[in-house]
Subunit: 386 residues, 2 copies
């Protein structure tokens, strides 16, 4: 559990017996959070409440002593982070109206930028669970087939249009049996919490391969996830209503209540030259998760509406998060309008897509007067030549 | 290990020490084959050779006695089968020229039935690993959105166009690290063996949802796998050359040697009425795996060419296997030409797509003079109302 620049080691807490009244020790001593996710909302809340009690000013003195003795609290800078869960299935949605509209305009100029199905359901696809990597993992530039404009034959080689996608994902809790969909009203029982997700994308590979079965190698080489899962309970003060949905969703997608979250998001870019010149990262995007058209309850209800099972630790990502303002776009293909308008950096370097040595960092946080600030940590990756 | 209508329990064999000279006991005592797949080709071959020695007429008498005592050999009819592996990622290709051409003709009449990318690479997508089920598992009719012809709005409800896809899949062995593709020439070190796969498909759901990100809920509700993984070593006598590939594949897809396999395949349909009248199943498709355009070595090299990792126990399916002859089509959408030409059954019943109570069985086998017959078992499922 992240607390500012420290980490509370729940393994030590569990082993020392401080959580025995609320949870089985082994749930917090496993190498991943899957067993804890599986335990369900009542357990998630009990553990959260108990730990708050222990940490509170003037809290349990036995805990304070024990924590000191056993290194229950360590400096984040000294820790090595891991993926929070072993992800059974990874689904990626496409739920930002602004992003879907921008890509439609770029790829199908003149036509209706949105497909006819887009306003009726959260469009999504399955990604590769085996190439999810945690914050800080280098990203190898993928090779693949691309067809240069007007060429008869494709070429194979390193992608020349390597991009990011700024997303927020949720991890599922107990899950459902095959044949038994999760109703939209039950979503709170099945969503543990949120992480940042960078769905790296090779646009040249994607453009040539994606018809008719969707993205495959253009996306499957790496997806970066932040290590700290922020629980929905912790995010309760930051719930907001989402945008109006028109046409009205079909009944199985009719989520009542506020299901969007006010999460500030940024994308930072730092090139090799910027590091060498000791320049800090450049913020290229500032946006917010609150404007997403389709929300998580709708996404989970939709993904299981056919009877498909979700398992504890499955990851569902939002799709690229883009806002209306020019500086609020969640991918380089949007920021540079398919490469037409390069970004100029403080070094004088120009970027359309990513070059080797470029470091991209996603950050997220919640803050508002009267509520405690919540940090999402980072999802960072540096491009290395393959 | 299946031997005719019996099962050799390798767990008992390992526990009794009969394989100690070739493999660590725990590799064969795990609840799934993942650790055995991870061990690699040398181990796969050593175990196969050792077990052949033990079973051979006049083989080890200690083994015969022990096998009898410990129920090392059990009747298949008395066993409950399970998925062979815990599948990390499930990829489904689209590698039959006949199938891709048929679907192109049905959905885009008048145009070129093949997309421009099809002859350059094995097109594929990620499916849902969490809804892979073993032979015999009932299949719940999925609900989903579909848009009736000429309607403004979609409807939500049980699929009315439930189909099958006859496929063969391969399980991967040791796998590769992220950033290190598996060269096409190394495929034999990474492919353990084959199973039958039925990629159930709700054509109405698929048609409405699939643009632009590909199949999602139209496929994710269930995929049936046969329980016996037939090793490439066992299939060696049945290797054959594949069809000519034109244009020539790019170098990274250039697989030398015979990479197709002569596997006879059938699809059987048995309705509830047929069962009630004690009628046997009707064979609706007879085809062969040998004609597939893209082969497994090419599929694995392509899927990892971008540096994506394959893990032990990942499953890669071929895509629907259809031949040139009318009775050799691997899906009902092809057999009935999108519902235009119903199949008439011995009961007088007609079928375009599947109805509740219909039982579909895939079978596969290899045989030729001078070689031992190899059976793939079955991948069977009965449709139940959701």
């Amino acid at each position: 559990m992240a607390i500012g620049d420290r980490i509370l080691n729940c393994d030590v807490l569990a082993e020392s017996g401080f959580l025995d009244d609320v949870v089985d020790r082994e749930l917090l001593q496993a190498p991943t959070l899957n067993p804890f996710f599986a335990a369900g909302r009542e357990t998630w809340r009990a553990v959260r409440t108990r730990i708050s009690q222990l940490l509170r000013e003037g809290g349990d003195p036995a805990f304070r002593e024990r924590a000191h003795e056993r290194d229950a609290i360590v400096r984040m800078a000294e820790a090595r982070v891991h993926l929070p869960a072993e992800v059974g299935d990874y689904v990626d949605f496409y739920s930002s109206l602004q992003h879907a509209t921008n890509l439609g305009k770029i790829f199908r100029p003149g036509g209706d930028p949105l497909m006819p199905n887009w306003r009726w359901m959260p469009i999504g696809y399955h990604g590769r669970a085996g190439t999810l990597v945690v914050d800080g993992t280098p990203v190898h530039r993928p090779s693949g087939q691309r067809r240069p404009p007007n060429a008869d034959a494709p070429k194979f080689g390193p992608s020349t249009r390597l991009d990011i996608e700024l997303e927020v994902g949720f991890f599922t809790g107990p899950g459902n049996a095959i044949g038994t969909p999760i109703p939209v009203a039950d979503a709170p029982e099945h969503i543990y919490g949120l992480v940042l997700v960078n769905d790296w994308s090779a646009r040249d590979v994607q453009a040539w391969e994606y018809q008719p079965l969707g993205p495959f190698l253009g996306k499957s080489f790496a997806t970066t996830v932040s290590p700290w899962v922020v629980s929905l309970d912790a995010l309760e003060p930051f719930r907001v209503a989402g945008p109006a949905q028109e046409p009205a969703p079909l009944p199985y997608l009719n989520a009542s209540g506020a299901w969007n979250y006010d999460v500030h998001l940024t994308v930072e870019l730092r090139t090799r030259q910027m590091r060498e010149k000791h320049l800090g990262a450049e913020v290229v995007t500032t946006t917010n998760f609150r404007e997403m058209y389709w929300n998580m309850a709708q996404q989970l209800a939709h993904a299981t509406a056919n009877g498909a099972a979700a398992r504890p630790g499955d990851l569902f990502a939002s799709g690229t998060i883009s806002g209306d303002a020019p500086g609020s776009l969640g991918s380089f293909i949007e920021m540079t309008w398919n490469g037409r308008d390069p970004i100029v950096l403080p070094t004088g370097e120009r970027r359309t897509f990513l070059e080797d040595g470029d470091e991209v960092t996603l950050r997220g946080w919640c803050e508002r007067p009267g509520a405690r600030r919540i940090g999402f940590g980072t999802a960072r990756g540096t491009i290395v030549a393959q």
